[in-house]
């Protein structure tokens, strides 16, 4: 009996901080307008058309959210892996210093960091001038393009990728790498056959931890993107704060959570069962 009682605090936590808000969200998403204007508020109803109209109206932003977040997550993985690998295997003496450096940007406000990139990526800045000199920019600029948004997402959520990867790589016995090389595996083969599969839990964790906040983000699209780069987070945000159309905003949020859940579960099932020890 006692063991069951011990899960009560956990249950209460889930109930109050997850289930109740979720139900409230779903209930709100089905409300209808009380009068002719939004300021007159809403009444409880079962207006499922909120979902269809919201999806019909904002389908592009939905797709964009998952597309941008997906690209950003892939980029983050490619960038984070060597960093995490280096910290785990090579940076013996400076390991903790480097970990602190990875986390350090978190001490500055998310908004401030993103705004700083506006300066770095500005037209007269070094980055854009260099890329333009090489004729690599189709629009002559980075700011207010999808490139900037994806870049911002990648940058801002990079630590979420690095830390789980590091945790996972750090647990790998370096002698396994030596064993692979002793057994005729070139460094590249040794990596793919030994390090990569053993780091799968970190890859999985990093991808999930990066993709979820990136797909729901709106700050990067707001600050670094054009009107054609807005993501579903921007729409939900505008619906909640500016338009105050709570049912539509709730319907969008609920759909977003649902789709995200499907993507994550599908991903974990595919990658998780195949590679995890």
């Amino acid at each position: 009996m006692v063991p069951y009682l011990l899960i009560l605090p956990g249950l209460a936590w889930i109930l109050f901080f997850f289930l109740v808000p979720l139900l409230s969200l779903v209930a709100t998403s089905l409300q209808k307008r009380a009068g002719t204007s939004l300021s007159e508020g809403f009444v409880p109803a079962l207006q499922f058309s909120n979902y269809t109209s919201a999806l019909g109206e904002y389908f592009p932003q939905f797709i964009r959210a998952f597309l941008y977040a997906g690209i950003a997550t892939a980029l983050a993985l490619v960038i984070a892996y060597p960093i995490a690998y280096y910290i785990a295997f090579k940076a013996t003496k400076y390991k903790y210093l480097m970990l602190v450096l990875v986390i350090a940007p978190f001490f500055a406000s998310f908004l401030l960091r993103t705004n700083a990139w506006k300066t770095i990526l500005s037209a007269d800045g070094f980055v854009v001038e260099t890329l333009n000199a090489l004729s690599l920019l189709p629009e002559d600029r980075i700011l207010n393009t999808s490139v900037a948004v994806i870049f911002g997402l990648t940058y801002n959520f990079l630590p979420f990728m690095i830390l789980p990867l590091y945790a996972s790589l750090d647990r790998i016995d370096p002698r396994l790498v030596e064993a692979a090389s002793d057994l005729y595996a070139s460094p590249a083969t040794g990596f793919w056959r030994v390090v990569w599969p053993l780091s799968m839990p970190g890859v999985l964790g990093g991808v999930v931890l990066t993709f979820i906040p990136a797909s729901g983000d709106y700050i990067n699209a707001q600050l670094l993107g054009s009107t054609n780069d807005k993501m579903i987070g921007n729409v939900i945000q505008a619906q909640f704060i500016v338009l105050r159309d709570y049912p539509i905003a709730s319907a969008l949020s609920a759909m977003f959570m649902f789709v995200l859940l499907i993507i994550i579960v599908a991903y974990i099932r595919r990658v998780g069962t195949r590679q995890l020890v």
Partner: protein, 372 residues
């Protein structure tokens, strides 16, 4: 073709510290070779340089007439059994053993792996993950994984260190059997002198990055050339004295007024000061007055005696106050001397060896593994 392993002036420095100091060594093809020494003596570093996992600071490694010094590990025809095995935890036993074959795109992987698993008696474990195996089984997988590649040299880095005593003895026999069966050169790194002596054809004792002495186990044990070897490989009584004369190819050595004979051929010096030594099991312990003793004799007082089954070990004090040890075979346990008893120690001059007078008598004492 002869594929002897040949180390030439091989050196490895870590900053100020020289881990391996200009080693010259030839391991003939097909031998079981043991590198023996205390931890930190450079034996593992030597092994890792042969494997290609550590880069030499200078010197060369040859295999037959081929210089492999600059070959990366994955191109060298040598394989390693790692300390704690380093099995791939995400692969099952079959895939662990097949790893090297698959990298080299060898045909008939399945058949070869099955045969190898039979050799190490793990045929039924092919689909287990390493985490599901016992220590001894993991050890066999590690051996199989390396051996299946038919390396020119198999390197074993303290392969039995993680096993308990009984299993260790069993695996020693097993490893020896496998080595004889496949005929591969084994280079075995260990700090356990019994393990080294029981398995190896040749033992090299390493200390401070250098090889102190090398040879077959019996000659190294019987004729240590340094105090370190004498102390590290088994136990020894080392006595400092002066050469006072010669008779019949023997030197007469005076140790605090007691005269001992040591074969001239066993002595590195022939006049002045010298250190002589004798192993405790060579010493006969008798009551004072017994006259049927070997030529080298000294009276002593028993400090401690311990009966350990196969023998009785005595700790005695010589007339000049130096503690000595002597083992007496347990043929007749009724007349064990007690602490305080006066006794007479005796041993054959031919069992006496001589060492350089500048030797540190305590060298190798701290590091040696007590005889079991």
């Amino acid at each position: 073709m002869a594929a002897d392993l040949n180390l030439q002036r091989l050196t490895r420095e870590f900053g100020e510290h020289t881990a391996v100091d200009h080693i010259d060594l030839i391991v003939p093809q097909g031998t079981f070779f043991a590198l023996l020494g205390p931890s930190g003596c450079g034996k593992t570093t030597t092994l890792r340089m042969v494997a290609g996992l550590e880069e030499p600071t200078s010197g060369h490694i040859r295999l037959g007439d081929r210089d492999i010094t600059d070959l990366p590990a994955y191109r060298r025809p040598v394989n390693t059994v790692f300390q704690n095995y380093a099995l791939f935890p995400h692969l099952d036993v079959f895939d662990n053993v097949a790893f090297g074959l698959k990298r080299r795109k060898v045909a008939d992987v399945k058949k070869k792996v099955s045969e190898m698993l039979e050799l190490v008696e793990l045929g039924k474990m092919a689909d287990r993950k390493p985490g599901q195996l016992s220590g001894g089984q993991q050890q066999r997988v590690a051996v199989a994984r390396a051996l299946i590649n038919e390396p020119a040299v198999l390197l074993l880095d303290e392969p039995l260190g993680a096993l308990d005593l009984k299993l260790r003895r069993q695996m020693q026999i097993e490893l020896k059997r496998i080595q004889i069966e496949v005929g591969t050169t084994f280079v075995h790194v260990t700090h356990d002198q019994e393990e080294a002596m029981s398995m190896a054809d040749t033992v090299a004792v390493m200390n401070l990055g250098k090889i102190e002495q090398m040879g077959d186990p019996i000659s190294v044990y019987e004729h240590p050339k340094t105090a370190f070897v004498a102390n590290f490989l088994g136990q020894a009584n080392l006595l400092k004295g002066d050469i006072v004369g010669e008779e019949n190819d023997h030197l007469v050595v005076d140790v605090h007024g007691v005269k001992f004979s040591v074969p001239r051929s066993e002595a590195p010096v022939h006049d002045g000061r010298i250190v002589i030594g004798v192993r405790p099991e060579k010493i006969t312990v008798v009551d004072p007055g017994v006259t049927t003793l070997p030529k080298n004799q000294v009276a002593a007082t028993v400090i401690d005696s311990s009966f350990i089954g196969v023998s009785t070990q005595y700790l005695v004090e010589s007339p000049w106050g130096q503690p000595m040890i002597a083992f007496e075979q347990n043929r007749d346990p009724t007349d064990v001397a007690r602490p305080g008893d006066p006794v007479l120690l005796g041993w054959e001059p031919r069992h006496t060896f001589g060492l350089d007078p500048d030797e540190d008598l305590k060298a190798g004492l701290q590091e040696s593994v007590p005889a079991l």
